[in-house]
């Protein structure tokens, strides 16, 4: 790996201060960023990394003040195995347990998982091979190429890379709030950004905590991937239903977690059954703009079918 400087931050303040300089990036578990650096994905290689792992007291899962609080440095495996999370916030525990591989979950943090860089095999191709629009170039290569894993709801500034996080849709479904060093952000808004960003965070802003309001309903998370481990999702979906009100969020279908409000409206106030879930699934993908098959490119229409099905099944799981 190419050399860089490293600041092992001892406090949040030290981290934020270090992140203020140019060419600096934050690193927590490292499982997304080190891959990115090894592959020389980015046009600009960082001069300095700021390690957040050394900041004390950001690794916890606790109930406090009527909400669940998860420290940003909490490992995904700990969330997956937390009895508290499994019992009350099942979709989050399931999402954490289905992220990447066991080893990645033992290092990777929830903060890192929600801040990971959007995914596209053109963007990620070794040695910054494609000067794509997300990197400041003039075109999206996936639009013209093989887009089987790409957005089914169109592009953001013509970029069709997707947010691949497994925990993100669960946090949206559970109406979480992301606490940063600067502000509190509703999970839904956290990824609401145009390229080249993947989150709304400033460079010198870090996530410190995730807060999830008390939840007494049922929730479900399903991930579809080609393999049962290691893979990013082809599509995933989290649904949380309490008091007849649903929050449904798909991911890996758009540049940010895609809240399926049309599906929620179908569910809200109604008794859940197969037919209702089916129509909610259809509503979730209505208006999609998936890519058709073209030559050797199978396109992304298959993802529409999967998204529809996952919406239906997560709803039925919340019955």
């Amino acid at each position: 790996m190419k050399a860089f400087d490293l600041v092992k931050a001892k406090s949040i303040d030290e981290a934020v201060s270090a992140l203020g300089s140019d060419g600096t990036m934050a690193i927590a578990g490292g499982t997304d960023l080190i891959n990115t650096l090894q592959e020389r994905v980015l046009a600009e290689y960082p001069k300095k990394l700021v390690s957040l792992k050394s900041i004390p007291d950001l690794d916890y899962i606790r109930e406090e003040g009527g909400m669940l609080k998860i420290g940003a440095l909490t490992r995904l495996e700990d969330i997956a195995e937390s009895e508290l999370v499994k019992e009350k916030y099942a979709c989050l525990a399931e999402a954490a347990s289905r992220t990447a591989s066991p080893h990645i979950r033992e290092s990777g943090t929830i903060g890192g998982n929600i801040c990971q860089i959007n995914r596209c095999w053109y963007f990620r191709k070794t040695d910054n091979r494609f000067d794509c629009i997300r990197k400041g170039g003039g075109m999206c290569y996936a639009m013209m190429g093989d887009n089987r894993y790409h957005s089914i709801f169109g592009g953001v500034k013509a970029c069709i890379a997707v947010n691949p996080s497994d925990t993100a849709p669960a946090l949206v479904a559970l109406n979480a709030t992301i606490i940063t060093t600067k502000r509190e952000i509703a999970a839904e808004d956290f990824w609401d950004v145009a390229i080249p960003g993947s989150t709304v965070l400033d460079n010198d802003e870090i996530v410190t905590e995730i807060q999830i309001p008390e939840f007494s309903g049922k929730s479900s998370f399903i991930k579809m991937a080609l393999r049962k481990s290691i893979d990013f999702p082809v599509v995933n979906c989290a649904t949380a239903i309490a008091d007849g009100q649903a929050r449904i969020c798909l991911n890996a279908v758009y540049n940010k977690p895609y809240r399926a409000t049309a599906a929620e409206e179908v569910v809200n106030g109604n008794t859940i059954d197969e037919a209702l879930a089916e129509s909610a699934g259809a509503a979730a993908v209505s208006g999609n703009s998936a890519f058709p098959a073209n030559g050797t490119n199978p396109g992304s229409k298959w993802k529409v079918q999967i998204a529809k099905t996952l919406v239906k099944r997560t709803i039925l799981n919340c019955k």
Binding site: Y122, G145, K228, T309, K312
Partner: protein
């Protein structure tokens, strides 16, 4: 055009090894502690990547970033000035020997070319390589061959038109596949050039042994005067997952690294990037094959026409397994006549294995016919089982004529497989079974012959040592098959020694004493013969000495038992009144068969003989053996007799297109299971690799640029522990193989047979054929009309 398959020179017949029916003490027993086990479990086993010569420099080579491009100009000044860089070699080097190893054009993305950096560390080499500035001439490229390629009839047997005329029904289909290897150990080569000799350690180095053609003067560009094979010292490192690979490539990497070491007067380690490694360990090509099949309503196949189109290589053997495995009389393969010249893809090589196209063809033909007739596919297989157009009567006579047991291998395998899968309860007509969770249930069948791998050649030796133990001497590059343990089992069996009194470790100098073949594919069937024959000789030598008290030189008569002027006694025979045939050896003890209490240890015999003869240096018991049975592929008159039968049960989710493998049954007639654990390992290992290929392994290229999009282990989907279902493995032992004790080859079987098995399984579930592998969810959804 001549029939390229059947017109090969006939090889002599081989008979069954009569020892197949003996009482075994060591061979075939479970629980033998495998020889490489501790090193591999503990991680102390050293692979090429872990191996570094003292004082090593590190080298990296440029990858072509385009599907087809040549270098217009290149500026390496920044790289040369980079601290720690020791050598920069360019494609335009004035020394033709150097220029010859560094092409200036890359004809596929990832092609190693242009410039090599040699530096103190790998990190420096990589960074310096990135400082090289290149102006590229990007050229047009082609990914797929044209449909109107010139073709030849590489197989033309019987009368294909007559065969179609005799048929009740004719079907046509085209299958395709796109998988590559999914590499294991990143490619790397270590060479230490010592002027009068050289040492090396390399991934895939067994290919250097196997294919020595690069040592010939004409093809050798390494050093004026040529590289002598005799001067090579091979460090016998372990090999990360070499399932067959690009022979040419490992040779090229050796040549390059040798030149670098010559120039720098330092050992050099050439490392390949992930992409370079991926493109190095490529598969037997992607491609399509058109089939036209004629058959009668009872399942008898009357004619098969096959037009294969592979993306890089011509493939002449598209019907090989229909020739070798069936009684079908009319076969025609129309293969492209040449390598498609414009394919801008990595070169290909067999990756477990080169016979996959004809295996896939055999299985899809069988299953398509069965599905068209609504028949149990095992019945179609049994009806057409045979050899070269001949049926069961001929096969039976062949077995009897050659000393084989009269057993019908396919019948036995199918019966065992049906019982294991509970066939009568799980089989159903296509599309007729829905599981309680709403998914469609399907079951697929695959069959074939086992690998007749008692071919190729090898040499090796066995010697008894002073302490009564035996050592196998040879060079066998380990590729994971546990060959060393199996050879020791054979040696212990034949010598009558305890397993722990026999040992085999790689022999670094043995460039000719090679227990080989391609050591993976032919392993036990070639090398087992060598060890077996050598040990038989030694056993005879030992028993003669034990009864006669003389040291017999099996290459020239009786050895002197004393020196001039010295009183060295002739050893007293341990069994003075007996003949060799009165004795047996078991558990390292020699004993009288009719009176087992009359016994001496092998150690006693050894002590006596070496004292008497060779004065503290070595024992006289040594045997060298050569085994040579010609070349690969079809051998007329030496028909493949062992068969295999497999089932795979799946559940197909018709809403998401996902396929879950519910259960797999692998039944292989291995002739004789020399090492039961190794047999099972090859069965489930090959099976998972095969299903993984059929299910989600696919090369993806960017259509506009020809750049590979998924050349890594995240985006190229090699199966995990949870993706290919539980597997029952059953070994049938009919002794119908040509190997020692009737064994036959197995290593490549299951990976080949299981690669296409999801085709019939999914068809059985959803009533639609998907012949486009891998069968990913998008294809299932498309077949179901959902997208």
């Amino acid at each position: 055009m001549a029939d390229l398959v059947l017109n090969k020179v006939a090889r002599p017949n081989r008979e069954c090894d009569p020892d197949y029916s003996k009482d075994f003490n060591v061979v075939g027993k479970s629980g033998v502690r495998r020889i490489d086990g501790y090193e591999k479990a503990s991680g102390t086993a050293v692979y090429s990547l872990d191996f570094t010569f003292p004082g090593t420099l590190y080298a990296r080579m440029l990858s072509c970033p385009h599907a087809n491009a040549s270098i217009k100009s290149m500026d390496t000044s920044k790289a040369e000035a980079y601290t720690g860089v020791r050598d920069v070699l360019r494609y335009d080097n004035p020394d033709p020997a150097v220029a010859a190893i560094i092409p200036s054009q890359g004809y596929f993305e990832g092609k190693m070319m242009g410039v090599i950096i040699v530096a103190d560390t790998d990190e420096i080499a990589q960074e310096a390589l990135r400082l090289v500035e290149i102006e590229w001439d990007v050229l047009p490229f082609t990914m797929y061959p044209p449909e109107d390629q010139e073709r030849i009839q590489s197989t033309n047997k019987g009368d294909i038109q007559q065969g179609f005329a005799e048929a009740d029904q004719i079907i046509e289909f085209t299958y395709s596949r796109k998988e590559d290897a999914g590499h294991v150990e990143p490619n790397n080569t270590n060479v230490s050039w010592k002027d009068d000799h050289y040492e090396y350690a390399q991934v895939g180095q067994w290919n250097n042994l196997q294919a020595a053609q690069w040592f010939t003067p004409n093809s050798n560009a390494i050093k004026p005067g040529g590289v002598s094979q005799a001067r090579g010292y091979q460090h016998p490192v372990y090999q990360g997952g070499s399932f067959g690979l690009g022979i040419t490539l490992t040779q090229q990497l050796f040549k390059i690294t040798a030149v670098l070491s010559q120039r720098t007067k330092r050992p050099v380690k050439l490392l390949c990037s992930l992409q370079q490694s991926y493109y190095s360990f490529v598969s037997s090509d992607c491609g399509e094959e058109y089939f036209k099949v004629g058959f009668k309503n009872d399942g008898t196949i009357t004619a098969v026409q096959n037009d294969p189109t592979f993306h890089v290589m011509p493939y002449y053997y598209g019907l090989l397994h229909l020739v070798e495995n069936t009684n079908i009389s009319n076969l025609q393969c129309n293969s492209p006549s040449n390598r498609f010249p414009g394919a801008n893809r990595p070169d290909t090589g067999p990756y477990r294995c080169e016979q996959r196209p004809p295996v896939t063809g055999l299985n899809l033909v069988t299953n398509h016919v069965a599905a068209a007739l609504g028949m149990d596919p095992t019945e179609v297989a049994l009806k057409n089982d045979g050899y070269g157009g001949e049926g069961q009567e001929y096969m039976k006579q062949f077995r009897l004529d050659h000393g084989f047991p009269d057993r019908d291998s396919l019948q036995e395998c199918v019966a065992a497989a049906k019982e294991a899968i509970d066939f009568d309860n799980v089989w159903h007509a296509a599309g007729e079974k829905t599981l309680p969770d709403g998914r469609k249930h399907g079951i697929g069948f695959a069959w074939d012959h086992e690998w007749n791998d008692a071919i190729w050649s090898g040499t090796g030796a066995v010697t008894m040592l002073l302490d009564g133990t035996a050592q196998i001497i040879g060079n066998h590059i380990d590729v994971g098959l546990n060959g060393a343990s199996t050879y020791c089992q054979v040696a212990a069996e034949e010598l009558g020694l305890k397993f722990e009194d026999v040992y085999f470790k790689q022999n670094a100098e043995g460039n000719n004493i090679q227990l080989k073949g391609p050591s993976s594919s032919t392993n036990a069937c070639v090398n087992g013969w060598i060890v077996k024959k050598a040990c038989k000789n030694i056993r005879a030598q030992m028993l003669e000495t034990a009864t006669q008290g003389v040291i017999v030189d099996y290459y020239g008569g009786e050895l002197p038992t004393g020196e001039p002027g010295a009183a060295i006694p002739t050893p007293d025979p341990l069994f003075p009144d007996l003949q060799p045939e009165d004795l047996d050896i078991k558990d390292s003890v020699i004993f009288e068969k009719s009176n087992p209490e009359n016994k001496h240890t092998v150690l006693e015999l050894l002590g006596q003989t070496y004292l008497a003869s060779t004065r503290w240096t070595q024992t006289p018991f040594f045997s060298f053996e050569l085994y040579n049975n010609g070349q690969n592929l079809d051998m007329p008159h030496r028909h493949r007799l062992c068969r295999q039968a497999h089932f795979c049960e799946v559940a197909v989710d018709t809403e998401t297109g996902e396929i879950e493998v519910l259960k797999v049954v692998n039944v292989n007639d291995v002739g004789k299971a020399l090492s039961p654990e190794s047999v099972a390992g090859q069965q489930y290992g090959g099976s998972i690799m095969g299903i993984s290929r059929g299910k989600h392994e696919e090369e993806v290229y960017d259509p506009p640029t020809g750049v590979r999009l998924n050349g890594n282990l995240l985006d190229y989907k090699v199966s995990t522990v949870r993706d290919c279902g539980p597997i029952d493995t059953i070994a049938v032992e009919t002794a119908l193989g040509y190997g020692p004790y009737g064994a036959c080859g197995l290593g490549e079987c299951n990976s080949d047979e299981m690669s296409p098995i999801l085709g019939p399984a999914v068809q059985n579930a959803i009533s639609v054929w998907i012949d486009d592998f891998p069968i990913t969810p998008d294809k299932v959804l498309k077949a179901l009309g959902k997208i």
